[in-house]
Amino acid sequence: MNARIGWRLASVAVGGLFIVAWQLVASAHIVSPVYLPGPDRTWNALVRGFATGTLLAQLLQTVQRMLVGWLLASLAGIVLGACIGLSRPARAYLGPTLEFLRPLPASAVIPLGIAFFGLSDGMVLGVIAFGALWPTLLATVHGFAAVEPCLYEVSRALGMSRLAVIWKIALPSSLPDILGGMRLSLTVSLILAVVGEMLASRTGLGSGILVAARTFHAPDLYAGVVLLGGLGYITAQGLFALEARLLRWRAVR
């Protein structure tokens, strides 16, 4: 246990070294301060941004879009994915189409969204939900299609109803896949939220950093990037914790 903590501290120290190096490079103007503000100016910009309330407002907007889009997409993805995954004919007919759509860049749908909804909040939310749908949908289809066949036999031997089979056997069995898909969907949500904000100039971190770049306010830009990194980190960790809790039963040996 002590060894683990020791290594953890050492790695944080290494991270600190990188920050010091960043500061040295910035202070010595090895790279122009227009492009690379040091951690000191970035930190000041962060503090300033929160003090004036601007960064908080942007952060909340981005988080809200991301979460709402993600939740909608996850719900739709799980329900649709379950229906398709449980039905062999559905898998046969829809599978190839889904496989074709899997590598499609989610952002390619943005122009379509703009065409339909204009540069509005609805467009951004719609694009987020649509883009975030696919990882969860595909993972759910896979999870439901890959349920251990012996368990279906067990359920037949016990005389379980179809609904009971789906709820008590197929769904729990698919949960690892579903959660993995939802994790990917969350990443996609964040990306599309940022891009959507950049394009539609809605209030949010995405538009915030774009404006900062255009007006050459590098510290504000970097502060926003750091915040977005932090957002990505917290959401990923949150989902990992949820997975660990829900999937306690996985073989630890």
Binding site: E148, C150, L151, E153, V154, S155, R156, A157, L158, G159, M160, A164, K168, I169, P172, S173, L175, L247, R248, W249, R250, A251, V252, R253
Partner: protein
């Protein structure tokens, strides 16, 4: 002595995917019998078990339980699967896995904890009720399957090579446990195994199947005294005679 057998296979044939697995099987099993089914691979012994369990429908003939045709799985016939790793729900605890059988039977919620505790005590898993299957050894996982079957309070137990994947010591322990459980509950047992000695040790009747076509080629009574004992029973001359008989039977099958 009942004139009506509990289980009857009446000229049962089974063809799967164009291949004939079983041909014209006639078999009567009385209540309280411990029937062991042996035979070389491909002889159809697992198919026979699945027909009895209602998991398959015969291509010809009829499988009857208590006089009525078996068309689907029944609550009083419990099935124990060969691959315990795949037949248990990994996301439910030991107690949860047993509970599954009770839920399927629509046993009221209040009655479940007591029944689960009782059945876990019988198989010796009482202290591990909150563990997950991944935390159990092979022998314990198989006991969990037994517990789930017992929770149904079955009149018939179908066991498909349940101890094949276990080490010899665990196998012997579980053999004796099954014998005592069955003696206590009075259930009829249909036990498929490839282990000839196990078949003689456990059963009061051993059925030998031969493949191509799948048919019953031997049906012997095992008159060894109960309760069985791993040492004394296996040293009994009658045990050796039956074992030799089955050995020859299997060897002839290869010829």
């Amino acid at each position: 002595m009942d004139s009506q057998p509990l289980i009857a296979f009446d000229r049962v044939s089974m063809t799967l995917g164009g291949t004939s697995i079983l041909t014209d099987i006639d078999l009567r099993i009385d209540a309280g019998d411990f029937v062991c089914v042996v035979g070389p691979s491909g002889c159809g012994k697992t198919t026979l078990l699945r027909l009895l369990g209602g998991l398959l429908e015969p291509t010809a003939g009829e499988v009857r339980y208590a006089g009525k045709r078996v068309a689907e799985p029944r609550a009083d016939i419990a099935v124990m699967f060969q691959d315990y790793g795949r037949a248990l729900l990994p996301w439910r605890t030991v107690a949860g896995n047993v509970s599954l059988a009770l839920e399927a039977l629509n046993v009221p919620k209040e009655q479940r904890p007591a029944r689960i505790a009782a059945v876990l005590a019988t198989v010796g898993l009482g202290a591990r009720a909150d563990r997950y299957p991944s935390e159990l050894s092979g022998g314990m996982q198989q006991r969990l399957q037994i517990a789930r079957c017992l929770a149904q309070e079955p009149k018939v137990l179908l066991m498909d090579e349940p101890f094949g994947a276990l080490d010899a010591m665990t196998r012997q322990t579980l053999q004796d446990e099954v014998l005592s459980i069955v003696a206590a509950s009075g259930a009829t047992v249909f036990f498929v195994t490839h282990d000839l000695e196990e078949a003689v040790y456990l059963g009061n009747r051993v059925i030998g199947l031969l493949p191509h076509p799948g048919r019953i080629a031997s049906d012997v009574n095992v008159a060894l005294p109960r309760p069985r004992n791993q040492l004394t029973t296996r040293e009994d001359p009658e045990f050796a005679r039956l074992r030799r008989h089955l050995f020859d039977f299997i060897k002839d099958a290869d010829a």
